[in-house]
């Protein structure tokens, strides 16, 4: 009936009340804060456009490169396909598939970012051109910054993939970077539809 000393050393296992494991939960909380950040930018955009904006949007003489941005949208959505393929590949033990998927995702994301920078240089207005210019560059720039962060994460994931990391059972690095990348894509769909289409 004696009580013996604990055989366990070190701090206790972290409490996990959530049904999501801690690293994924961390990414989810980060994304939740990002959604609020984008929400504040969208609030400014809709205020400038609907409440305080001119009758016509974009205000003359400005035009938005809808077609180029549409192609860029297709590129970004395609990068989500390759990201998903990458994770599915490592889950099946296909290391080459994972590596190819990650490389393609980084390449497509980089293409998106470079195209957006190129678009900025040719769009014909700047952030100083009233509320329209400010909100356009604010929203698309904020998203571009997120693409850059996503690409940084994916680059490290790709390096790890080529260094032999990740297995069919241990691939959290790919999973979490994939969640972030899909979130970045989702936000672009919202930005593209509201800023360029509607």
């Amino acid at each position: 009936m004696a009580v013996h000393a604990e055989a366990h050393h070190g701090p206790p296992v972290a409490n996990q009340s959530s049904r999501v494991d801690a690293p994924t939960l961390g990414m989810l909380l980060f994304i939740a804060s990002e959604v609020m950040l984008f929400g504040s930018f969208f609030t400014i955009y809709f205020f400038a456009r609907v409440v305080a904006g001119p009758a016509e949007w974009p205000p003359p003489p400005f035009h938005l490169p809808v077609f180029v941005a549409g192609v860029n949208t297709a590129i970004l959505v395609t990068s989500s396909f390759t990201m998903h393929w990458s994770l599915q590949a490592i889950k099946r033990g296909n290391r080459a598939g994972m590596q190819a998927g990650l490389v393609l995702t980084v390449a497509l994301g980089l293409t998106f970012l470079l195209t957006q920078i190129r678009e900025y240089s040719r769009v014909g207005f700047s952030p100083q051109d009233g509320a329209f210019g400010s909100t356009f560059y604010g929203l698309t720039g904020l998203h571009g910054a997120h693409v850059f962060v996503g690409l940084t994460i994916l680059t490290f994931t790709t390096i790890r993939a080529f260094r032999g990391h990740f297995t069919p059972t241990e691939h959290r690095g790919v999973e979490i970077s994939g969640i972030y990348w899909h979130f970045v894509d989702v936000m672009w769909i919202v930005v593209y539809t509201t800023v360029y289409i509607l």
Binding site: P12, N15, I31, H84
Partner: protein, 220 residues
């Protein structure tokens, strides 16, 4: 509730749904007019909200698997009881479960509190009362030759179990309650919820303090 970003696969599915959602709104607005876009927006949003509400009701909880602690010949038993520790059958149950092992018993008494006091963080009295009940329980167990430790737990019994599991790492759980009809825990389905949440054997011991009569349900 549904979390669309819980895994990469779900996030990917969410992306595809987002593409479809905004494509439908944009197409309706461009092809027919602004009001058509608004109607499609409202319709799809309503359909999505209904789906989320319905799906969240059927979502199964994920079981927590406590990590094994202690030596191989050690049997760790977590006892959750408000005031029903001390019955003979419960003591026998602990003896039976730990036969052939060095038993290590932790009694957790939830600091039961009213909802209003809980939300006002007014839990000092609840913890004080729980501490008294816990000490009485430990005295009765020690009198029976069971060297148990104890602690006051969260006001929510399942949460108290989960907290204790993280620190204690029990091999099994014994939940001691009043008989049906007099037990709030049974009314709230605490035993069933615990069996859904924790991947360890759970024994439910019914203690009728008034009649000094107890009944034991076998672990699942």
């Amino acid at each position: 509730m549904i979390n669309p970003l819980r895994s990469e696969a779900e996030a990917y599915r969410f992306l595809l749904l987002t593409v479809g959602y905004f494509a439908a709104i944009a197409l309706a607005a461009l092809a027919i007019g602004t009001w058509a876009g608004i109607i499609v927006f409202l319709g799809l949003t309503l359909a999505g909200a209904i789906y989320v509400v319905r799906a969240s009701r059927t979502e199964a909880p994920r079981q927590a698997v406590p990590s094994r602690r202690g030596r191989a010949n050690e049997r760790r038993i977590l006892v959750i009881a408000n005031e029903t520790v001390g019955g003979e059958r419960l003591r026998n149950e602990i003896h039976t479960r730990s036969e052939g092992y060095d038993e290590h018993v932790l009694v957790v008494t939830p600091a039961l509190n009213s909802h209003l006091r809980h939300w006002a963080s007014d839990e000092d009295n609840a913890r004080l009362e729980a501490q008294k009940r816990l000490e009485a329980s430990l005295d009765r167990l020690r009198a029976a030759g069971i060297d148990a430790k104890g602690e006051v737990g969260d006001a929510e019994p399942v949460q108290a179990m989960e907290d204790a599991l993280r620190l204690f790492g029990a091999d099994e759980i014994i939940i001691s309650t009043h008989p049906e009809g007099r037990s709030h825990w049974l009314e709230k389905g605490i035993v069933e919820t615990a069996r859904e949440r924790f991947a360890v054997p759970i024994t439910h011991v019914v203690v009728d303090l008034a009649a000094e009569r107890e009944d034991v349900q076998e672990p699942t």
